[in-house]
């Protein structure tokens, strides 16, 4: 047991990009799993909400990856890294719980399409999920490294991935909480983006 630093939207689906809220507020399938296992919850800020707003379009990583957004994420990541540093200093086990497929919060799966831009229309079925971290997670990794703190184990909510299954999601989270490396390879093409 330890401290789970969770993506903002797992406690507050109101922060999701339009059409992305899976429930009214608290995404219980993940939060309940963490609490059932005795982990403390600490909520990270949503990097996209304050920067691109509530009426933002769905986006892939390349669309968000600007110098200004990086600076914004770096500022937030410094705040999160300082909090993680407190818990690590207390000897707590720490995990990061992100949002798989997100351009910002993906922990092992993000979304990518270097050609996407302009008028926001694209064919259904466009492949975009790819192995990798979202921008905010990358900035948290850098901020922890600057503090000499090891990057924690990671896991994520998997709604955006093809073949999402709550039982599988719970098993993956429990595996990471128990000390496993977790993670999941990218699923087949699907046009869902989650902020």
């Amino acid at each position: 047991m330890g401290v789970a630093f969770v993506a903002h939207c797992l406690l507050n689906q109101n922060s999701k990009v339009g059409d992305g809220a899976h429930c009214a507020g608290v995404y219980s399938p993940v939060i309940d799993t963490l609490r059932d296992k005795g982990w403390r919850i600490e909520q990270m800020p949503c990097p996209e909400l304050a920067f691109t707003g509530l009426n933002r379009f769905w986006a892939v990583k390349e669309q968000l990856d600007t110098a200004a957004y990086r600076r914004h994420c770096e500022r937030l990541a410094e705040a999160v890294a300082a909090a993680i540093g407190v818990r690590v200093g207390q000897g707590e086990d720490v995990v990061l719980v992100g949002v798989q497929g997100s351009p910002s919060m993906g922990v092992t799966v993000t979304s990518s399409d270097p050609l996407r831009g302009g008028r926001p229309e694209w064919p259904d079925g466009t492949a975009e999920h790819t192995s990798g971290e979202g921008i905010f997670i990358e900035e948290i990794r850098k901020a922890l490294a600057r503090r000499g703190i090891n990057f924690p184990r990671v896991t994520g909510e998997t709604h955006a991935l093809a073949g999402h299954d709550e039982a599988t999601q719970r098993a993956e989270i429990e595996s990471v909480l128990a000390g496993g490396s977790g993670g999941r390879p990218p699923g087949p093409a699907r046009t869902t983006r989650e902020g």
């Binding site: 903002h8 406690l11 507050n12 689906q13 109101n14 922060s15 999701k16 339009g18 059409d19 992305g20 809220a21 899976h22 429930c23 009214a24 507020g25 608290v26 219980s28 939060i31 609490r35 403390r40 919850i41 600490e42 909520q43 800020p45 949503c46 909400l49 304050a50 707003g53 509530l54 009426n55 500022r75 937030l76 410094e78 705040a79 300082a82 909090a83 540093g85 407190v86």
Partner: protein, 125 residues
């Protein structure tokens, strides 16, 4: 596409109600039941240099939600929250320091509907 299920209602919640002691009011469980989102305030054991930036980010996000008419309440509190909200021009929401989960649930259920919502031009799909 399926409908977006957000509630447009958010509770700012002190850490002790997000990670309650055994038998204490559990704001996350109540919020999940009542259909409210949760924005967690920094834990009380963080030093000011850690809590301050986290509080500033909470305030900035409250500002964005407030610009769109989302409803807020405050469950518990945190030193410096009022000042952080004031810096972004947002008033401290109606507050409760519940002794029980039932008390919190009744408080949330009595709140008026949010002014925010998807109008016809915003409904995705």
């Amino acid at each position: 596409m399926k409908a977006d299920e957000r509630s447009f209602r958010i509770a700012l919640v002190a850490d002790r109600y997000v990670n309650p002691q055994p038998g204490g009011p559990d704001a996350v469980a109540v919020a999940a039941q009542a259909g409210w989102g949760v924005m967690q305030l920094p834990p009380d054991d963080y030093p000011p240099e850690v809590a301050g930036p986290l509080l500033a980010e909470v305030a900035e996000q409250v500002e964005e939600f407030s610009r769109h008419g989302y409803a807020f309440v405050l469950v518990g509190g945190h030193p410096g929250l009022a000042e952080a909200l004031a810096r972004v021009g947002v008033a401290v929401p109606d507050q409760i320091t519940p002794a029980t989960g039932v008390e919190l649930k009744e408080f949330l259920d009595r709140r008026p509907a949010s002014a925010a919502g998807w109008d016809a031009s915003q409904i995705p799909g």
